[in-house]
Symmetry: C2
């Protein structure tokens, strides 16, 4: 896969014009970390940020007694360290590969130069991040306002926007986590998925893959215009 094709799959850079993507390929550095290898340490100057291409990275703090507290685990497509790097601060925690991981590294100086030369890259990235924030806000509101089938519909639409596809959606959390997120139990979630499948709204492999067959109807379910029959 070409570098541009890899970069365009990163949500942080999604929707960027081809020119911006090409500019980014000129500064990205491909890095590979072994399992248990430290990527950066708390207090290090934020000289650049990372995006996970494959593998997993844990972000953690150490207590004065040396006890490890994991703050977050990042997987493919996810950026980390970018908040302090954009803000010109030190890293507030440690990062370590928990398995062999391929990362894209964007040095701050080179990234800053890019923005300096091409302010439209900054504007476009602001657009990408603002759009994702609106999607998240809408998701959180949707989750709080609807019945379970409507919430599931809203979640699937959100996923299809995120993954830019209706053909092969991959649930990014387990079914029991999804049930919990939707405020229900896995059994109810399975029943609703089965009903949506029967009505030819979606197709599900019973695992994490879902295909949207009738987006219009799904949108109506999400907006509450129609309800799923029992």
């Amino acid at each position: 896969m070409s570098l541009v094709n890899q970069i365009v799959t990163i949500p942080l850079f999604q929707d960027l014009p081809q020119k911006d993507l090409k500019d980014l390929t000129a500064i990205v550095i491909h890095q590979v970390f072994k399992r248990a290898q430290i990527i950066f340490s708390e207090g290090d100057e934020g000289k650049g940020f990372y995006v996970v291409i494959s593998g997993r990275v844990k972000i953690f703090k150490l207590s004065p007694e040396g006890k490890e507290q994991i703050l977050h685990i990042f997987g493919p497509g996810e950026p980390f360290g970018e908040v302090p790097v954009f803000a010109g601060k030190c890293f507030p925690a440690n990062a370590e590969a928990i398995e062999k991981s391929r990362l894209f590294y964007f040095p701050r100086d080179a990234f800053f130069d890019l923005i300096n030369k091409s302010p439209s890259l900054a504007m476009n990235m602001l657009a990408v991040l603002s759009k994702r924030l609106h999607q998240f806000t809408a998701l959180i509101e949707d989750l709080s306002l609807k019945e379970v089938p409507g919430r599931l519909a809203a979640y699937l639409i959100y996923l299809s926007e995120q993954q830019k596809s209706t053909d092969d959606l991959t649930l990014d959390i387990s079914k029991s986590q999804l049930a919990s997120l939707l405020g229900t139990i896995p059994e109810t979630l399975s029943r609703i998925l089965a009903r949506m499948t029967r009505e030819a709204i979606i197709e599900s492999d019973g695992q994490r893959h879902i295909r949207i067959l009738d987006l219009k109807l799904l949108e109506k379910l999400a907006s509450g215009e129609v309800r799923l029959s029992k």
Copy 2:
């Protein structure tokens, strides 16, 4: 209140250095819209974006038959129109004040000039937006992984980060919406709030105002380290 003090309360600009805030005050235009006044129409060139200072604004589309579909309602502190404006596109929907509304308007050309002159403003805004995205992601994960008291704790911590205060948090949704978001019913939510009050973790006015008394304990509840006694 000074313009800088007003701008710093807008989440889109939170955490920006004083210099950036001052630069923004130089380009902002204060606008007042009457109830039912159109702010922009679908297809208009995105010449600038808005932040609601007071009042409420609805974003809507019109069907070919003229039927109105409301996509979103924005209130104080919330930006709108910034995604197409950052991306240099036309507005994809209409905006109308649903009550008398005071707005801050940021013209695109002036904003672009600012970024052009001061790329660090762009970097700092990218940091702000990235940080909010991480907070949102964490909230969504938290909501899907914890028992109801832990979820409530996670939500209150999220609110205190958003509102930069532990002293007077204002729930931004109704209690029944919050109950639904946490996957429970209003009665259970009220019981948990009462228990947290009894244990001096929070203080609640029974309405939308909450004060965090013991943030450490709330964090332990959210992380699952401790559980609320019955």
